[in-house]
């Protein structure tokens, strides 16, 4: 990898909050400095690059012309389409124009985070700017969605290094997310899962059960419907696992998570949510049947997961 040219990456920013960039630089393995010095050539990224204005725009044009068909386009944020796109202006023009221009010669596109993948907070109802996810604007390129607000740092660098190492796209699920990181729910591997299965729940903030680390399901945890690697990237739990610190998952890697009711509403109100609503009851009422309940629960969960994916695809 050291001797061949580093893969050029063009990283553009639309409507966003820059949490994806901030997450990216938190990566511990590989270190962010090793990614930008030794693995990729980050030839354009308005958040970190030295040049500005015309010189920055020139770096952008030079890169996409010189490496046509060979660069990765990383998109953080999304284009707003209302007001002729002028809710997000770069170089005096609508951001959506820059996005389209950059996409033309890209080998592949990475949609960083919930903004690029699904629209995120600015697309929450009533979406005043018509903030639009990348795949609805660019329809003729392979797109890897890496959702989350923000995505996990090592998932971000993992996606990039996978492409560099194996020289191919990672396997994607039906929503376009890398299967290696997004094919299981937080709930499936949550370290508090035994408390769920045993019917041991936090009932109020800072109650005795909270102090014992019981399940946060009743406090609104969205772990049971959220596909992400937060509970399965063990070495990095210290940087990205809300449940560990006593707050439920808010489902930040799911499409439209801002519009699913309060973050503190229990999941029974969510339509796709089937068996866990009753599993909750089973957990509460039949401690003697826990073993059986877990087995049934696991089996049905697999079916439900497949079903959910089909519905979403």
């Amino acid at each position: 990898m050291e001797t061949k040219p580093r893969t050029p990456v063009v990283w553009v920013h639309g409507l966003e909050c820059t949490c994806c960039s901030e997450s990216f630089i938190r990566s511990a393995h590989p270190l962010a400095k090793d990614v930008v010095l030794s693995m990729i050539s980050l030839d354009y990224d308005d958040t970190l690059m030295a040049a500005a204005g015309h010189a920055a725009e020139a770096a952008f044009e030079e890169t996409i012309a010189k490496y046509k068909g060979n660069y990765i386009l990383a998109v953080e944020g999304n284009p707003p389409l209302n007001e002729d796109g002028m809710f997000c202006i770069t170089g005096g023009k609508p951001f959506v124009e820059k996005l389209r221009h950059a996409a033309e010669g890209a080998k592949a596109i990475i949609s960083w985070g919930a903004c690029a993948s699904y629209g995120c907070v600015q697309a929450a109802a009533p979406n005043p700017t018509q903030a639009t996810p990348v795949h609805k604007v660019i329809t003729d390129k392979p797109i890897i969605k890496v959702p989350g607000c923000p995505p996990i740092a090592e998932v971000m660098t993992g996606v990039i290094t996978y492409m560099l190492t194996f020289d191919r796209m990672p396997e994607l699920d039906r929503q376009g997310r890398p299967a290696m990181f997004y094919s299981q729910r937080i709930h499936d591997k949550c370290y508090r899962r035994p408390h769920f299965d045993a019917g041991q729940f936090v009932e109020h903030w800072d109650d005795e059960n909270a102090r014992k680390g019981y399940c946060l399901y009743k406090m609104g945890c969205k772990g049971p419907t959220t596909y992400n690697a937060c509970s399965t990237v063990p070495l990095e739990r210290r940087r990205h696992f809300p449940i560990q610190s006593g707050h439920g998952c808010i489902g930040c890697s799911e499409d439209g998570f801002w519009d699913q009711g309060s973050f503190y509403d229990r999941l029974t109100t969510i339509k796709q949510f089937g068996i866990e609503a009753t599993a909750d009851q089973i957990g509460w009422t039949a401690t003697g049947l826990v073993g059986a309940a877990v087995a049934a629960h696991a089996a049905v969960s697999v079916l439900k997961r497949a079903q959910k994916k089909n519905e979403e695809a």
Binding site: G92, P242, Y264
Partner: protein, 597 residues
């Protein structure tokens, strides 16, 4: 044409027009245009916020307990500070008090953000305005080692071999021909003054800081579960404390306290042994470059933060100072009341919004926004291809906030400017010490470099405070208090039918306020006025210019086509455009009463 602004600046738009778009190494999207005379001196400056997201209208009708998560996504760089401001606003509206431990933990998280944000700003957003990484290839590693040991004898990474390794790595990078982030930089511009050894030392610290910052944020992840975007809670903090009982891995226990403590130590070591020495070393080579003062010696505002005790936001109880200075009278610090409709007002005459009548200012309680994207008659270009903007008309997605009619600068330097008030001897001593070390007069503070220095001093001060609140938390646990949340008013059925509140913080970039109205358990109106709204403000109807614009005036550019000097001064504010330009409120009826905490 030459004009005089009411706040004392002379503008002349006759010279050559220079456009910088995008302004890079900031959060969000921003454009800057200046006019430069034939001596290369900036005579007119126009700053434009070029993005708008509309978060407040999205908040309307939501559960106020959720607002922290929405507003936190205003910015992922100053992550958490909007969330803290939001829970404070909601708590003030509903009369919710928080436990002592929650105050200590919130303070540690806010202080941790200040430290992280300032380190990342200095090294990764601002340094390349002063430091030339390409020139670092010419450095002698041995001399660099000597320089390092001279400026910071306590920093262990200082051997000649260490600097040689970094230099070799940089060399390989540059020789590959793929310059990545350094591509098209202004590396032969004479504005860069550092000797190669200082460039190598600072570039090395750019990499060290990049490694360190990912550890700094673990204070957020321990107490808030995540960074960026940790979790918060109306009524306290979500993390319980359990240092004794079974199952303590689900709560703050001894191991986690130890981790927090070790991070506080690392923050303090880096800030004292690397950040501050670098500031002085780099600053020492630019002592002649004292441009960029703008409003800083004249009109400044800070809200203050870091309450010693929970639920007491009186100015005397805040570790970061609150106050306003106007008309350049540094000896008179005015108190600030964000609920007073006469104090904070926003204007939109030059912003892409419409109030219906010109010259009108609205207090955030009554704030309303109808977006109106229109460009002036003197525009060069078209509606979707702006070549030169017309600052005589509307020209920014940022509103123009004013304090008693004055355009104000906010941020660490603004907070520092008000240190004449009693009770902040620590900050005063810091500033005086730095000026003494660098052999500079007080007037040097009011400059681009002064702004950058004030930020570094604030980071060091925040390290000390972080330790203070860690000790306070441990003492409180030792005394038998493990409470972290007050859930008495968690249930919306306990809330009044209507309520209003204000939350304030001193964010890394300065004074941040959220105003909320709650009705029938839902958000009726939400408004944020954020630091970059103040600093990046466009003109108002009277022609007062904002802090960015004022600070650029009279700066000499070495090469007008290479905006190194413009970037220096804009970056010294650490602009955050996603913060400043999300603003959009629903129509709010004028209020007759205002309830504060």
């Amino acid at each position: 044409m030459t004009t005089q602004t009411p706040n004392g600046f002379t503008l002349d738009n006759a010279g050559k027009r220079i456009v910088v778009d995008p302004v890079t190494r900031i959060e969000g999207h921003m454009r800057c245009e200046v006019n430069v005379n034939d001596q290369g001196i900036i005579t007119n400056a126009v700053s434009t916020g070029t993005m708008w997201r509309g978060l407040e209208v999205i908040l309307k009708g939501r559960d106020p307990r959720d607002a922290w998560a929405f507003t936190e996504r205003i910015c992922g760089v100053c992550t958490g500070t909007h969330a803290l401001t939001s829970v404070r606003a909601v708590e003030s509206a509903l009369g919710i008090t928080i436990p002592d431990n929650a105050n200590s933990i919130r303070n540690m998280m806010q202080l941790n953000l200040q430290i992280h944000d300032h380190i990342v700003h200095f090294y990764h957003l601002h340094a390349l305005d002063w430091v030339n990484p390409v020139n670092a290839l010419r450095a002698d590693p041995k001399a660099t080692s000597e320089l390092q040991q001279m400026v910071s004898p306590s920093h262990p990474l200082s051997s000649p071999g260490y600097f040689r390794d970094v230099q070799n790595r940089l060399k390989k990078f540059v020789e590959s021909g793929q310059l990545g982030l350094f591509k098209n930089g202004y590396w032969d511009n004479p504005a860069y003054k550092l000797p190669p050894e200082a460039d190598l030392m600072a570039t090395t610290h750019y990499l060290e800081a990049l490694d360190l910052q990912k550890e700094v944020v673990k204070v957020h992840t321990i107490f808030g579960g995540k960074n960026p975007h940790p979790n918060w809670l109306v009524g306290g903090v979500p993390c319980p404390i359990n240092v004794d009982g079974v199952g303590a891995v689900g709560a703050i226990n001894m191991e986690r306290l130890n981790l927090v403590s070790s991070i506080i130590d690392r923050c303090t070591e880096f800030t004292r042994n690397v950040y501050l020495p670098d500031l002085k070393a780099i600053g020492g080579f630019y002592k002649e470059w004292l441009y960029g003062g703008g409003l800083s010696g004249q009109s400044v505002l800070s809200y203050g933060d870091i309450p010693e005790n929970p639920n007491d936001f009186s100015a005397g109880q805040l570790h970061l100072p609150r106050g306003a200075i106007i008309n350049g009278n540094l000896n008179e610090v005015h108190d600030v009341d964000t609920t007073d409709p006469e104090q904070v007002q926003e204007f939109v005459d030059h912003s892409w919004y419409d109030y219906g009548e010109p010259g009108m200012g609205l207090h955030p309680w009554d704030g309303r926004t109808e977006p109106k994207f229109e460009l002036g008659p003197n525009l060069k270009g078209t509606r979707t291809n702006i070549e030169n903007i017309d600052e005589g008309a509307k020209y920014s997605w940022i509103k123009a906030p004013r304090w008693r009619g004055n355009a104000m600068e906010v941020g660490p330097l603004a907070a520092t400017s008000s240190v004449t008030r009693k009770g902040h001897e620590d900050i005063k001593n810091q500033v005086e010490g730095l000026l003494r070390d660098m052999n500079l007069p007080v007037s040097a503070l009011f400059s681009t470099l002064g702004r950058t220095a004030a930020r570094a001093l604030e980071a060091e001060y925040c390290c000390r405070l972080q330790k203070h609140f860690f000790d306070k938390l441990v003492t409180n646990i030792k005394n038998g208090d493990s409470s972290t949340a007050n859930v008495e008013k968690w249930d919306p059925s306990t809330w009044p039918k209507e309520a209003k509140g204000v939350g304030m913080t001193e964010a890394p970039r300065g004074a941040l306020g959220h105003w909320v109205k709650i009705k029938d358990g839902r958000i009726e109106n939400y408004q944020c006025v954020v630091p970059t709204t103040w600093n990046g403000s466009p003109r108002d109807s009277k022609g007062n210019i904002g802090a960015f614009e004022a600070s650029l005036l009279n700066t000499k550019m070495e090469r007008p086509e290479e905006p190194v000097e413009i970037l220096r001064t804009l970056h010294s504010f650490d602009p955050c455009l996603a913060c400043s330009t999300h603003v959009m409120s629903a129509e709010g009826a004028p209020l007759t009463t205002v309830k504060v905490r």
